[in-house]
């Protein structure tokens, strides 16, 4: 397979994953803002922008005053925001067109349909009344592409690169959400176990679609350390960092088997996975959650870069 095609597949699935996670983040922010007074709601929206790394771009466009409608329109569809959900879907589609010969008709049509549908839905400003429909559509379209891929793609290097792209992006996104929310998960000075804490913790879980799984595993007991352990170390939860690294391990091993050789990226991946396996949540909190996440993001970024080099994504 061409290095350029591997690059296209890798980024196609990174963009789709990022678009979906962004929609979840907005959904959680929206839900949170609805339950708060206006000052706290602005704070919530600001944290959505910070998580996405869009705070400065947003401020340049709208100033420091933050309203919900401005934020979700900026994040979803603003033409001045190259990282908008619409732009990501467009880039996903551009990549899909580029690798059209590497994906099945079903996958291509699912991606193309996502683009047509969202382009249409995001052609005019999104109101609060319409927001849920839009976010639903983003999630549903992403699910459709994933389903098409699972059901129709040959299990070969193309498929492995798609899965690797998804896992790298997802690990990155979960870590970023944790990073912005880590203060919520720190042992709080007051109001421990208050309803406000519960709402906030619930919100972190919602942002990664983990609220049901967590409640089911923990019989409804919310506790910050448990949530952090769940999102970082529980290899059963598909958005946990440990799960993503399992996924990377599996697909990179399959790739090595198909090609008959391992690369430097395999070593980096193994280091990361072993590091996660050694860690306990106690050790993470002792070291500092923020610092841990910083290290994790750096490792994940290094891995992505090395994959691109090892498999000649670009000249």
């Amino acid at each position: 397979m061409l290095g350029r095609s591997a690059n296209g597949i890798f980024w196609l699935f990174r963009y789709l994953e990022r678009a979906e996670n962004t929609a979840r983040l907005i959904e959680a922010g929206f839900r949170m803002a609805l339950t708060r007074d206006s000052g706290a709601a602005s704070e919530e929206w600001r944290s959505v922008l910070v998580t996405l790394g869009l705070h400065a771009a947003f401020a340049a466009r709208h100033g420091e005053d933050v309203t919900g409608a401005q934020v979700f329109n900026f994040v979803l569809r603003d033409r001045d925001n190259p990282a908008s959900v619409l732009a990501m879907i467009e880039m996903a589609r551009t990549n899909a067109r580029m690798v059209r010969t590497g994906i099945t008709r079903e996958v291509w049509e699912a991606v193309n349909e996502s683009w047509m549908k969202l382009k249409d839905m995001l052609a005019r400003p999104v109101t609060e009344a319409r927001l849920r429909d839009v976010l639903d559509a983003v999630r549903r379209q992403a699910t459709q592409v994933r389903g098409a891929m699972e059901g129709t793609m040959l299990r070969n290097d193309i498929y492995y690169f798609a899965r690797i792209g998804t896992a790298v992006e997802r690990a990155d996104n979960t870590a970023r959400i944790l990073d912005v929310k880590y203060y919520v998960l720190l042992p709080s000075l007051s109001a421990v176990g208050s309803s406000l804490d519960n709402v906030q913790w619930d919100n972190v879980l919602r942002a990664v679609a983990g609220e049901r799984a967590y409640r089911w595993l923990n019989a409804g007991q919310m506790d910050p350390r448990g949530i952090a352990r769940f999102l970082i170390l529980d290899e059963r939860f598909p958005r946990a960092l440990a799960f993503c690294y399992d996924e990377l391990s599996t697909n990179m091993a399959l790739l090595a088997r198909e090609y008959g050789f391992e690369t430097e990226a395999h070593a980096i991946q193994r280091q990361g996975q072993e590091w996660l396996a050694r860690l306990t949540i106690e050790a993470i909190f002792e070291q500092g959650l923020h610092q841990f996440i910083g290290e994790f993001l750096a490792c994940n970024h290094r891995l992505a870069q090395q994959i691109q080099r090892d498999y000649r994504f670009v000249e």
Partner: protein, 479 residues
């Protein structure tokens, strides 16, 4: 009939002047009459949604807001009988054989020039003639691996060649998808009327290309790659479609480099040699070392590899000289010179404006003629006399006087019509036909049918997709 049309009525392929159905359309017409009202319209809407979803689009140069536009598809098929097709095939076969012999001769001894049948100046001053090809014979002796012959019809047995597309003819993906669409929309129709298959074109193309592997190829299966200028090219969909259907790699210039006397592509496992390149970039952009130095679409040094037998390029560089419009007018002589036979398919009568008598005639009769640029394509830069205003004609006449050798002129042909489906029912529209021809050392292979382009505007004679034309499924009936 509008004033845009020539005085005499056009030949309609479905109906005789008295309204009776011609034999080719009898089966179709019986089926059509049994369809409930509104059925075809509903299906037309379905087809458009299908094309959008599958991404069968066409990028139009110079239309920023319409980056990807659909070529309108009309659900009424264009039908050719087995007998008509047999005659057409013979004519096409003859013409394509002559084109390849002509190209070989032009790049070797130039017997036809020595014999005085084609003037030497047409080659000397022609940018499409590539001196880099002189004295070189491509692998298998094949110059035009893929040809699209544009045919027009003016009567029951009157088919003429309007253009020979011997560089990188496009449209074959529409031929294939149109058939898929028709079969998906009207499956029962195909059980009533026996139509010859087109769907194995990609397999035949792959086989045909593989049969032209270069001397350097060693192994059991040559590696074939489709070279595309990229996703912003107007025919990108087709490049991807063909690569996909052939199981070939779809490469861009940036994926390739010359290494160890071969052209290699950058894969996830390292650089791997390519044996046959089906290129969809023009000669000029193929090799920045040999041609346009600013090109980033091609591969630096590929011409040296080619000449040393390291790769096959399809179509061969320099084939454009054979479909040049100035050469076109000599095609009847060319066919006769190389095949020793009278041409089965005639040319459209053509005036070469480079000749003073012809120029004088053309200038006097601009209002009735179609004037084309010698090197133009896609319906750009031409004058259609009967539909142009006095002022347009005057402006064109000045251009023509300034550079007469840049133009040829043809009569405004009364192109045949086939009905299209409109809100008001069936209505006749002008069509042409582009059959696709594959050439390999094993022979010439013509896919039955081709791409029918149709001018959707009433009375219009311009069928180009870049100018608002549409397409139809083209049927050759089985005996």
């Amino acid at each position: 009939m509008t004033s845009e049309l020539p005085a005499e009525p056009s030949y309609d392929e479905m109906l005789e002047p008295d309204g009776t159905v011609r034999p080719a359309y009898e089966g179709y017409r019986r089926w059509l009459e049994a369809q409930p009202a509104g059925h075809l319209r509903r299906k037309g809407v379905e087809a458009e949604a299908f094309f959008r979803r599958t991404g069968i689009t066409f990028n139009v140069y110079g239309a920023a807001d319409a980056e990807e536009r659909l070529i309108p598809f009309d659900p009424v098929p264009r039908i050719i009988t087995a007998t008509q097709w047999r005659k057409l095939s013979r004519g096409i076969d003859q013409r394509v054989r002559a084109i390849n012999a002509f190209l070989h001769d032009l790049y070797h001894r130039q017997e036809i020039v020595r014999a005085g049948r084609v003037p030497e100046r047409l080659l000397r001053d022609n940018a499409a003639y590539l001196p880099q090809m002189a004295g070189f014979t491509p692998p298998g002796g094949v110059y035009t691996h893929i040809v699209g012959i544009d045919l027009v019809r003016t009567g029951e047995d009157d088919f003429m060649v309007l253009e020979d597309n011997a560089r990188t003819p496009s449209g074959v993906s529409y031929m294939l998808e149109n058939r898929e669409t028709m079969m998906a929309m009207f499956p029962e129709l195909f059980t009533r009327v026996r139509v010859r298959e087109v769907s194995d074109y990609p397999r035949r193309l792959a086989r045909s290309l593989a049969a032209c592997a270069p001397a350097a190829f060693a192994g059991d299966k040559p590696t074939v790659a489709v070279l595309t200028p990229g996703i912003y090219n107007s025919a990108y969909f087709e490049h991807a479609f063909l690569a996909d259907q052939m199981g070939a790699e779809l490469v861009e210039g940036s994926d390739l480099k010359v290494e160890g006397g071969r052209v290699a592509m950058r894969t996830t496992r390292g650089w791997q040699p390519v044996d046959v390149i089906y290129r969809r970039v023009d000669d000029d952009f193929l090799d920045p070392l040999s041609f346009n130095p600013s090109s980033v679409l091609g591969v630096a040094g590929i011409m040296d590899v080619y000449r040393a037998g390291g790769i096959t390029i399809a179509n061969a560089p320099g084939t454009g000289i054979s479909d040049d419009k100035a050469i076109y007018s000599f095609m009847p002589e060319i066919v006769e010179f190389y095949t020793g036979e009278k041409p089965i398919l005639p040319n459209v009568p053509t005036w070469r404006c480079s000749e003073p008598d012809a120029l004088a005639y053309v200038l006097d009769n601009l209002a009735d003629l179609v004037v084309k640029e010698v090197h133009g394509s896609g319906g750009y830069g031409m004058l259609i006399g009967p539909t142009s205003s006095k002022r347009e004609i005057a402006a064109f006449s000045a251009k023509l006087r300034a550079r007469p050798d840049n133009y040829i002129a043809q009569p405004t042909l009364s192109l045949s019509t086939v009905p299209i489906f409109t809100r008001a029912g069936l209505a006749p529209r002008h069509v042409d036909l582009r059959p696709f021809v594959l050439v390999s050392p094993h022979g010439i292979d013509i896919t039955p049918g081709g791409l029918t382009r149709v001018a959707l505007k009433k009375g219009s004679l311009v069928v180009n997709s870049s100018q608002g034309g549409g397409t139809k499924d083209s049927w050759v009936l089985d005996d």
